[in-house]
Subunit: 340 residues, 6 copies
């Protein structure tokens, strides 16, 4: 069985029930997630051996985050304990023309203030095939960026495949800072996932003629971005989701993969959205699954897109679909007929 | 007032809240339903005198199933008590490309192990006009098949109109077994409801050129199936719903009725789905209501289709709409404007 | 900061959870609202100084209604206390072809039986810029109509701008009675909001060739109605929402404003509905906000329509959106992308 | 099987969840109850044939009240339909030193404004053994008092046993009015249930030396009251519960029955309260069950007290315990050990 | 009407439903509270003019905290906006031998990092009679301690009565630091509330022979502590609650007030606990209410104790009881009989 | 770290919310538990390496049971997959004189129909120190009894300590059958937990003069039973909980341990019950923890009793307390003071 490690933050997610606005909520639905944790849960759920690396405080809220990972089969053995707090994000689900809103309260989280000595990468990566991280972790703090770099170096040294989801977060850092830090990490990366906006914000690489608020998609422009990313950093593959945001309720969803020579374009799904958060992470985990199990590139891409289309129908951060369910959709049955 | 009896299983339905997957649920919404019970509740709700026949265990869960029927005015006087357990089905509601899932846990239910002596059909059918059953009941067990046959014979003997909803369930029996058992029951049936898939699986009758996963409808093919059913079994009417499954959230919904000479095709509704389960049962109860109250055939069909379109918007198994509401929709007002 | 007063009823709203029908509900979601209260909350929420005038009973349910207003910053100082009961309305949310249903239980409410002496308009209107009421308040009772007239007279006398939302409610009075009473109030009104149906029912003014159950819109017809309203009552502005009811789940939503010379037509939004109630009130509050802050007419109209499009996505009666959110949508971003 | 009729009001009960105060509640638990309805449900639940007589509005809230009765097996055939509204009561559950609070909103209810012609007592009482009413029904309105009198007369004429629970409600009428009206009804009564406070308020009969707020019980005083009631009205039996209110969470609970010659005193239970409402009604239904099934007087009293002790542990108005459960407690097993 | 200001932190409280442990919770009940906010809400609820001073972030979670205060009538005009985050505390309710648990996540809250310039005390205290703060606010940070000192000075200068609740929090500071900072504030204080533990931890003043884990109370020891506090700081009054912790479910609750000459001891209540948090705050607000409305000392103390006994039965931080309810209990009616 | 294996059934537990009766429930709280699973979760929660052995069906409900174990750190690697269904038990929580009720629906569960070949005990027990089972597992079916015997033999052979909780279940087998089967297993057992009732029902060993419904405890009688058990089967230790069932809300709770020479009696706790289910299992896991970590016998017993006293306050089957929490209570702090 293939083995993977992801590094990142796991937060307490507090979402308002139904479509309530924050000011209406008298209770919050609670779950635990974060970009890298979501990828890890999804991969464990597909049956891989997936280990998550982070730091959580020693109290029961920290433990609850660990339990949420264990529940879905993630290996939590190497999660460090200590620090001040668990990061939080508040979520209000939008609908129609009203966008979903996220309020982050993640500063001073244990992982953001973790120390290099909290993680022994030789031990953590022993017997592991793949290492995945995102642009969020190095954005948390300089210390977190340092830890990410150490992880990348160790991974490369120990022969792991390394993937990144660029995931630019404007609340965490500036494009300048992001570009500077991420540039030090990219040399270790084999597979880069990132949409046009990420590429532009982090590396100043941009596509022409695309207005993301309009929901129009220009594949050629995306391919151009991918090409530039590979030229600059030597990635093996670059992939990007292609989201057409018609509204908070309805999106078009497809993706593109470029291997330096050829670009693969997936089928497009029109998704009726239940929970939009974690959509990108479910693409990343689907793609990693496809690549690590050595599917042909087009198939790996289709797997990733079908998987993430399904994610949009599942409440919570993580993509709790089976490989069988993804495959059924890939094969064309999106009829939604009751499975008895 | 017209009086009807239905025979079948009533199960505890345990559904996950919202769009939660099974593995996410910390509580289940509970209601009680099943194909024939749903028809019975709906007919009682339309104002008919409707009696349900089944067997439930003597404990409080069995009683709760009885109470659920009484609440909506069903006559539960002749429900037998005893046996081991109440059948259960677990339901996870799908959305968009993700189908709803049903896990049955109905083996060894009281009705499946009921004895012929539990039911006195002379008494049960006294003063009754119509008897309805489905292909699920005889599929439960040989004993249940035997009871169904006894009921059919008594009904015919006592002059009731008999209707069946073929409802093939692949988890309960094979096409061979189904064909064999159902063939013994069909001679007593006047009105047969069943879609193409049922006809094919149970009686090996099939339409050409229809792929149910594609959501395309071929009316002529359906009419051909209906014709063959009437030829073989001498039904007075054959009806079928025509579901176009665009996704788990959106379906096209219409139906066809064939009287041996002419086929009637209903208006089609594009339904945004709240709860898909019981859609077919609501069509059956609508059609029975139309026929028993002697509506013209086209009107009876339109009533059935409008009624079942509305069912798709109601949580739970049963179709809790009034005849007035159905008629409003039949007359063309599907505008959904607030009724104050 | 501009200051506004609205007069009307605030009711306890008891709505079934999810899409449950009334007969299925074992609990009700409770909030407090009503046409004029909704306008007042929305204006307070936009940052205006908004005062609500009503009468509520002295018990805790009455106090809860006051608290609901205070929570969103409404000035409740002049709310009278006493009387028998707080009005109630029961709400069942529809979907697809099934309309939402409202059952009113508002007779004998404190405000319907309030006395002229309960309100000192000189004090209430001191320093106020705008007075808003609807056709519901005078419909409650003759005493309430009398109070509304006193308020209108005082408002005019003290130089306030006066707006009305015609809001014809057939359960409260007949067209004859409505026409008679409303005619005594119109002379004090500057801004009249009312759709075609209101104009026809209350004043016998009607547009040609529009069938509201069909969801077709005829702008010219509406303009004709507006013209007639201005001719008869000398309003400064007449505005109307243009709802296209495709179903209980999907509406087209736009509006028209006529200033006696020119008619302004807004952009149209296709809204996926979460909560339809209060849609008209959110348009009224949006328009008042636009006019009171002296936006150009087209902009004021666009603000009102964008605001009320957003309201359709928010549970409860009131429109809890910020001016920033409305402006984002006005500027064309209805993509619903997550705001992080 | 013994058959019983009760006449009265059924209300929508809206209670705050947990121990929330009214001003904290964002939703209400909904059930349907009322003194006489509670007695009727309990008797149906014990297996008797119990029929409830009231009037409810024709809308879905009225129907929901009927459904709540049907669910537990009550015969609702003779419930009249029409009128303005269904009465409501709001309930806030107390604890420890904080008392539970009830806010009534029952004026103008359909039953309060029902007409004599709504009920055909000859038909209603046909084949019935027992008629029960309470002091609440005649207090609702003069019309309701008139209907109650007609029912009493018909019951007596047709040979039914008649019981009353005095249940004085100070919000509905004055002691003077109560005394006057109730005196006209008492001649038809065989079994009178009423505590000291009722006897004093309604008939000016009082015990010495008892302070109900102190929780002390003086059996001799109660016996004196019972004696005076029998002397004045010729009842066959008088019964009273003896509640020791230590706090909203803990009560002592016993009762006394006097047959004109001898007084029977029950065992006392120390009850930990879950839901205090309907405690008296569960005693009444227990006593009626004991008497109608011809238990010896001491046994009938013990049944009634044990039954009502159990009621205090059940949420909602009605006493949903089986006769077996009551008998287990009567026989001394109050250990609360898990029944597997 | 008397006017009061309190200064402090308001936090988001996230509590597990029912008696769930943290690791079991899939949702949290949300409300907003904190020692000084609780006092403020309670005083507004008693009908005083109560103003709360704090700083909250500009986002919707900050606004929700403000709304929670406004809902209960608190004046929020002078609350500063800005800063990083709103403090949080997680609460798990205990029962029997299992204690309730609080996990604080309040570091870096807006009020802890507020600046002196955020508050204009001349304006804030204009027309105000009383200023209340607790030992929690100066413990938050040096800046918060500075702000508290400025508030105390201004209050004294402008002639307000000043009260403090010592409220030592060991997670926020050491006894040494607490003693040092609090000593600079005490000269401005008129009324000091604090139990034995507070006095010992903050000022090294201790009573002999009391073991707080045993639930035994030694009044003389408490009087000795009060005497020493007055000697050292010249307070006008010192008050302390006397909690006897039998278990997490049952407490004895009384209090003592010392005026420098005489000590007053209240009645003791045995309380069955619903929500223990805010018990001390409800005593403080009750005492302030008694003193500010010039009740005799014994009466003020009884009011405070009765009020806080009632608080233990109310979910959430704040004491939402009316003065009438407190007075009923003070007069001896703790019978918990239903108030209809 | 010590390692333990438990073998048994894990069921879906469906409990009514609050104190609702089965017939009132419209939803069920869902968790997963069972005697042996509860012991396993509790031991994993104390920090031991705990492995659970059972068989669950391959569908999502089976997986949910596995996830519930993983969440709390149980090793689920060797759980077999397959079979027909997951057992269920329905739970209604009692209060005061009303007992809790359990309805089992566990027949035909996967573990009851598991095959010997599903478990490789050499592999399962490799490196394990302790094996625990209960009298429930062999009662499920002859096959399950056979598997239990194989496990016992392998455990003994491989040098593990073996413990049993007799746990007689009258719905599963007769005393005769139980005695016969259990007698074949006892020779492998080192530590036997079982109360008087178990000993009497299973082995016909009984104490004199104890009436379990009265809540009186006779320690000497228990010691006599323990002595007889050791004489017959050669156990090293026999332990029994001593429950005094005052009511469903209040129990006295203590225990006795006998080592063949001396009997140890624990402190007694008066527990206010939140959830009674799993009380015995929490004692077993506490005792195993005490013995496996080599506490002195009295301390091990006190640990077990304090742990299980705390369990009674936790909803769900499992005892989610930490060793620190147990130790705090053992040391005498049952004051329930808030832990901040």
């Amino acid at each position: 069985m293939k083995r993977i490690v992801t590094l990142g933050e796991i937060m307490l997610r507090l979402s308002t029930p139904g479509f309530e606005r924050f000011v209406q909520a008298d209770n919050f639905d609670a779950c635990y997630g974060g970009g890298e944790a979501n990828v890890c849960v999804s991969l464990a759920n597909y049956g891989l051996d997936a280990r998550f690396i982070t730091k959580v405080p020693k109290h029961e809220i920290g433990q609850s985050a660990v339990n949420a990972l264990r529940k879905y089969g993630v290996d939590t053995t190497y999660i460090a304990r200590g620090g001040e707090r668990l990061g939080i994000y508040y979520l209000e689900s939008g609908a129609s023309q009203r966008p979903s809103k996220v309020i982050y309260d993640r500063a001073h989280a244990a992982i953001a203030e973790a120390d290099s000595s909290d993680f022994n990468w030789k031990e953590i990566f022993d017997g592991i095939d793949w290492f995945h991280f995102t642009g969020i972790t190095p954005a948390l703090s300089d210390k977190a960026a340092g830890i990410t770099l150490e992880a990348c170096k160790a991974a490369k040294e120990m022969g792991l495949t390394v993937s990144v989801d660029l995931n630019y977060r404007k609340k965490l850092w500036t494009p300048e800072k992001a570009g500077e830090v991420m540039a030090t990490l990219m040399p270790y990366v084999d597979v880069c996932i990132g949409n046009e906006e990420d590429a532009e914000k982090v590396f100043g690489i941009h596509a022409d003629d695309t207005d993301i608020t309009k929901g129009e998609i220009n594949h050629e422009a995306y391919e151009g971005v991918a090409k530039k990313l590979i030229e600059r950093f030597g990635f093996k593959y670059v992939a990007s989701t292609l989201r057409e945001s018609h509204s908070a309720s309805d999106n078009g969803w497809s993706a593109l993969l470029y291997d330096g020579e050829k670009s693969y374009l997936s089928k497009k799904y029109d998704v009726r959205i239940v929970d939009r958060v974690g959509g990108g992470d479910s693409f990343a985990s689907g793609l990693i699954y496809g690549l690590i199990t050595e599917m042909p590139l087009q198939e790996a891409l289709e797997f990733a897109v079908a998987a993430s289309a399904l994610k949009h129908t599942i409440p919570g951060d993580a993509n709790l679909v089976s490989t069988e369910e993804v495959e059924t959709l890939m094969k064309g049955d999106g009829s939604g007929r009751v499975q008895r």
